[in-house]
Amino acid sequence: MERVPILKIGSILLVSIQVDMSDQTAVQLQEDLAERIVATGAHGVLIDITALDIVDSFVGRMLSTIASISKVLDAETVVVGMRPAVAITLVELGLSLNGIRTALNVERGMELIAAARDDDQDLDEDEDDAGPDGGPATETTASR
């Protein structure tokens, strides 16, 4: 069975999908990724689909699942490198990949994750400034 490699760049995990996704490959990838996020404490996951000619509802659902898993583990997921033809097909099919952030290329994706992290840190700083009681701050963190 083919396995999708997961690369670590700084605090980001890069998953470049180069093979046709089967059920097994997808499940394996989800398991591997969850383990790696926990092991490395990564804060961002970049899924590169430049090599994919076809993104059907199956791959779409897999991306959504990975995004949800990563979110639970406090990592931001960004799908990068979607081809124009793929985007058009998805629109025609009515699949909008809700809840998944996208970027044009890996570089932009890394910027996006960095920006999201900055926002978080901003919030942390604001919370620190907010007051010593920390009541509202905890609430904010919980709701995020």
Partner: protein, 285 residues
Amino acid sequence: MALTAEQSGRLAGLLREHGERITLRWTEIVAAQMRGRLSHAELLRQVQDLHRIMIAFGDQGLVDLADEGGGELRAELAELSRGRARQGLSATETAISVFALKDVLLETLEVAGGTEALRDYVAYSALIDQMGLFTFESYVRTRESLIADQAEQLLELSTPVVKLWEGVVAVPLVGTLDSARAQVVMERLLQTLVDTGSPYAIIDITGVPAVDTQVAQHILKTVVAARLMGADCIISGIRPQIAQTIVALGIEFGDIATKASLADALRHVLRSTGVEMGRRARRGQ
């Protein structure tokens, strides 16, 4: 009444016997129709070619233009009508090049007279009618391919994607947006986003005369596709009338930013990138 092999042979003989006179008279009739748009020498050359090939056709005793041996004649006729179509001549002017032969043959056969000659003439006419129809079909085919080429060129000309700023591209849409054009615009825009790595795109609809639900649907699809790829789209150039139409039709642009002018859209994009930079600068302090 269809042509027989014997008659076909007789036609070749007739054409050969009166060769000089027939080609000259034939050219004359065609030239009268063309009103000087094609030179006499050129017409004569075409007529002579056709004349020569028709003799060969008759000598083989062929009776139908669609016959296997009629390839040369068909090719010549197709070539003739292609030339006429490209020169912008009308269908009548093209068909007359073939049908003029009827008049010439009638003049030639009248001299002999008699029922036999009449019978022959009717049979020859059948062949010439076939040739005329074939010419006309080739003519139409050429014209259609010309129109198709032009439509394609128009499509390419009318959908430029321009770079406005670092990371900002714009598509100024001009003219009616039908499904085919919307598809081209969408593909072109998305490809440019990938090629230039621009995270912002502005779709300017100043030049779109009317926005109905279908056009709005096309624009929305493009925006959603661009979002899927990780780029943000802004719609600009909405004229007052169009704004009223959009509201009257109940078209919802949702959370897609819309601006009145291209300048506003560019300012919006620059501000949204600028604000981020500003915030970072403050953090650095």
